[in-house]
């Protein structure tokens, strides 16, 4: 098991190298930051001074070398726009995104598993059709539309909740709800399909022949076997959220990683974009390893070596 984690981390490191190269050179393709940061009438001296101060006058390969050298010391550079260390900014934004993602994922999983598992008990029954329609709608509705409608209804219309911003528990309700709808719909569909096949399996028949109670059969015998594909899809969705719940963060004005990145891209804040992408990637690699390990926890037949 320990060897497996080691080799997975080594693989992640290889991907990481590719990512670092890509991120650095792709950012340089978007144009010269000097043109953006300095006013159009800036003097040649001012432009040279700005370039020298940030190392933009070095050959690209030298800039890359400095970038990598600093990375090795966990120095992601300074944000051009805010003049603060990138690492500080990213770490300040991360908790917001993590909290948002965790809450949304938790709600999505609980609702999806319970409704999907119950729907699977009578395929094509009333509950199944209901869950099917709702989950399909949830999986298909775009976030930005849902967010705007939710704001209109709950904040503007009913005045129950704030429209955006941070502050207290109430500020989190709408973003978390909106963010959980899509994964919830997708996961419910997977749970349903996976549970239908689990319920028709031989071990469920054995459990029935043993006189095991129905709820135990569903939630103990069948569900754990049905979870593998569910974890795969849920992991995929969680990755998307860590990547920044961009739309939701922007609409609700939450200072998360998604909002930070969008702003940085708009201002060609190279150091910020590079740092943000790399740190997010590390989090995603870690999440993927955790997902693979959770397969082994769920199913003893899966052993990594």
């Amino acid at each position: 098991m320990r060897g497996y984690i080691g080799s997975r981390m080594a693989h992640s490191a290889i991907s990481m190298v590719g990512l670092v190269v890509l991120v650095f050179f792709l950012a340089r393709l978007t144009g010269n930051p000097v043109d953006i940061y300095l006013p159009i009438e800036a003097s040649a001296e001012a432009r040279t001074a700005f370039s020298e101060a940030h190392g933009f006058d070095d050959p690209l390969i030298v800039q890359f070398w400095h970038f990598v050298r600093d990375l090795a010391r966990l120095d992601f550079g300074m944000s051009l726009r805010q003049d603060r260390p990138v690492l500080d900014l990213v770490l300040a934004a991360f908790p917001t995104t993590l909290l948002l993602a965790l809450c949304a994922m938790f709600i999505a999983l609980v609702v999806a598993i319970v409704s999907g598992a119950l729907a699977a008990q009578r395929p094509n029954g009333v509950l199944d059709r209901f869950v099917n329609v709702i989950s399909l709608a949830g999986a298909s509705l775009p976030n930005f539309w849902l967010a705007i409608v939710a704001v209109l209804v709950f904040a503007v219309g009913l005045r129950w909740l704030p429209t955006s911003g941070t502050g207290g528990f109430v500020h989190w309700i709408l973003p978390v709800m909106v963010l959980s709808v899509r994964p919830c719909g997708l996961i419910a569909q997977v749970v349903r399909g996976s549970m239908i096949s689990a319920m028709s399996s031989a071990y469920v028949k054995t459990a029935r022949a043993k006189g095991v109670r129905r709820t135990t059969i569903i939630f103990v015998h069948a569900l754990r076997n049905a979870m593998l594909p569910v974890i795969t899809v849920a992991g995929d969705q969680a990755t998307g959220m860590i990547n920044g719940a961009v739309v939701v963060e922007v609409i609700f004005g939450l200072p998360g990683i998604g909002k930070l990145m969008i702003d940085s891209i708009q201002y060609r804040d190279f150091a910020m974009v590079q740092g943000g992408v790399i740190i997010t990637a590390v989090a995603i690699f870690a999440l993927n390893i955790a997902i693979d390990l959770s397969y082994a926890l769920l199913d003893p037949r899966i052993r990594y070596s």
Binding site: A207, A209, K210, G211, R301
Partner: protein, 540 residues
């Protein structure tokens, strides 16, 4: 039957149908049987005969829909369980009526430890966790699961098939049921393991006085184990009575046919006279195959200095239990596995490291028929595509314009019809699929066909038909067979010579008649004694 003469379980005029996409299927019609404590009733039938339906009804395991019970009663101590509530049925299941299944790997939940699963029978019926665990351990020890205490928390896939069946049995007998239903309990097991499991069931029955309902296709098991038998065909009981009476004087034509189809009861095949010197097709010398060792275990010898020859026109049976190396032998001869040592030649061509021209010859002349025709035929190809595919590789055999006609000829030779060419494998029964696989093997007009458990997954009567087909093809085309099987009676009725394999070695080889009537090696004797057809009754 009068009311005061109450049986433990009685099924009266049960009819069940299933609604499928292709219409309504009558699973059983007017089925009636009864069983008392201490008694063993066998329901004998082939696949699709409906032999499992009435016991499923008894345990409330028929899913409604698609199932529908159209008539009848299922009485447990006089109580009609078809009218019982879900909760009442749940109370009875596992405590009064228990069941063990055929495919133990699927029937045990793969993600929970076996001890937990055995203890669950107790917990489901109100026993506390601690006590359930300790009683589960006692049971696992009673069914002689080796090292039960240490393996209590192991998972099903970590046990052998025989051990898993012991675990299932422990689970079923936990609450001392009145009736134990065993649905093909030993079908997937080796003969010697099968004999031990059947003996265990018989002992437990005597010890606890429970009724034992055996659902099986195996006449040997019925003969060795049951008091009474009900023979089912096409959803109906065609004949019922004490085993001796039914087997010695079968009244129904179906029962007679079934009894005649059983291999190993007739005389030995008239083997070709051995004094006539026939040319050797395949010669194998000291063939070995070791699997690389991991750090913990030593090298596993799947084949250990195996030597034999196959003569033209000969059927060579290879018998052995799972893990004996029979399939590795076939795969090595076909070049699907690399041998570690030894030689094998086909008409003086090296089979183990053939030149590329030799390889073409070998691939044409030696064909294989696999055990599971469902898995070995590509489900997305029509029968015509499957059979004609080899001609696309060996182009010299047949010009493309003749393919269609030849496919039709081959289908007729294996007892199918020309019109079947455009169908897909799933539209055929298991026996028909195996015929397609044989037609595919014949397409290249080979000299040798290796059959790896080619009839093991088929019903007895279908098995007999396929064997008869293989025999007639052999005479027509001058074929030689290497016939690998774990089923001794089948080999006895078909092979000219037999190799007995164990742990990668050939422990004995000889003419079929000599080997079966006068086995030299103790392992051969043990195998023959374990077989329910060839050996004596399982338990007196």
């Amino acid at each position: 039957m009068t009311g005061n003469n109450r049986h433990l379980v009685e099924v009266r005029n049960l009819s069940v149908e299933f609604h499928t996409q292709d219409g309504t299927v009558q699973a059983v019609r007017n089925v009636s049987w009864h069983i008392d404590r201490g008694e063993t009733l066998a329901i004998l039938g082939e696949s699709g005969s409906g032999k499992s339906v009435s016991s499923s009804a008894l345990m409330g395991l028929i899913d409604i829909p698609p199932g529908r019970i159209t008539s009848g009663e299922v009485l447990y101590r006089g109580e009609d369980l078809l009218k019982a509530s879900y909760e009442r049925q749940r109370e009875l299941n596992g405590s009064k009526i228990a069941m063990i299944f055929q495919d133990t790997l699927a029937a045990l939940n793969p993600v929970y430890p076996v001890g937990w699963q055995v203890a669950e029978t107790f917990r489901a019926h109100g026993v506390g966790h601690k006590e359930a665990d300790s009683r589960a351990l006692e049971l696992l020890e009673r069914v002689e699961l080796p090292n039960a205490r240490a393996r209590f928390n192991d998972y099903p896939h970590q046990f052998s098939g025989g051990q898993r069946q012991r675990i299932m049995i422990a689970m079923a007998i936990a609450l001392d049921p009145d009736l134990l239903i065993a649905d093909e309990p030993t079908t997937a097991l080796d003969v010697s393991v099968q004999a031990r499991i059947l003996r265990l069931l018989k002992d437990l029955q005597r010890e606890r006085g429970m009724g034992l309902l055996m659902i099986t296709h195996d006449l040997g098991i019925v003969e060795g184990l049951a008091d009474r038998v009900a023979v089912m065909n096409g959803g109906e009981i065609v004949e019922t009575g004490p085993v001796g009476q039914v087997f010695n004087a079968p009244e129904h034509a179906y029962t007679r046919n079934l009894l005649n189809a059983v291999p190993g009861r007739q005389g030995f095949p008239a083997s070709a006279p051995s004094d006539e010197r026939r040319d050797t097709l395949i010669a194998v010398r000291e063939l070995s195959k070791g699997y690389p060792s991991s750090s913990r275990s030593p090298v596993v010898m799947a084949l250990d200095r195996v030597s034999f020859t196959l003569a033209r026109g000969e059927t060579l049976g290879v018998v052995g239990e799972s893990g004996s190396g029979k399939s590795t032998l076939a795969r090595t001869l076909l070049g699907l596995e690399k041998a570690s040592n030894g030689t094998a030649s086909y008409k003086d061509r090296d089979m183990l490291q053939p030149t590329s021209s030799d390889r073409t010859v070998l691939q044409r002349q030696i064909q294989m028929v696999f055990q599971d025709p469902t898995a070995s035929l590509n489900p997305r190809m029509t029968v015509e595509e499957i059979i004609s595919e080899p001609w696309a590789i060996h182009r010299e055999i047949l010009p493309k314009k003749d393919w269609k006609g030849r496919v039709g000829d081959l289908l007729e030779q294996v007892g199918l019809s020309r019109e079947h060419a455009q169908r897909y494998p799933h539209q055929f029964s298991g026996g028909q699929r195996q015929r397609i696989a044989i037609a595919r093997a014949l397409a290249l007009q080979p000299e040798v066909i290796i059959c790896d458990e080619a009839v093991s997954s088929l019903d007895v009567s279908v098995q007999a038909q396929i064997i008869a087909l293989l025999k007639s093809l052999k005479d027509e085309h001058g074929l030689s067979y290497i016939f690998i099987a774990h089923d001794l009676p089948v080999v006895r009725s078909f092979a000219d010579r037999v190799l007995v394999m164990r742990k990668g070695q050939i422990v004995e080889q000889g003419r079929t008649e000599d080997l079966f009537t006068n086995p030299q090696h103790p392992y051969t004797r043990e195998l023959l004694q374990s077989d329910p057809v060839l050996g004596g009754p399982v338990a007196a």
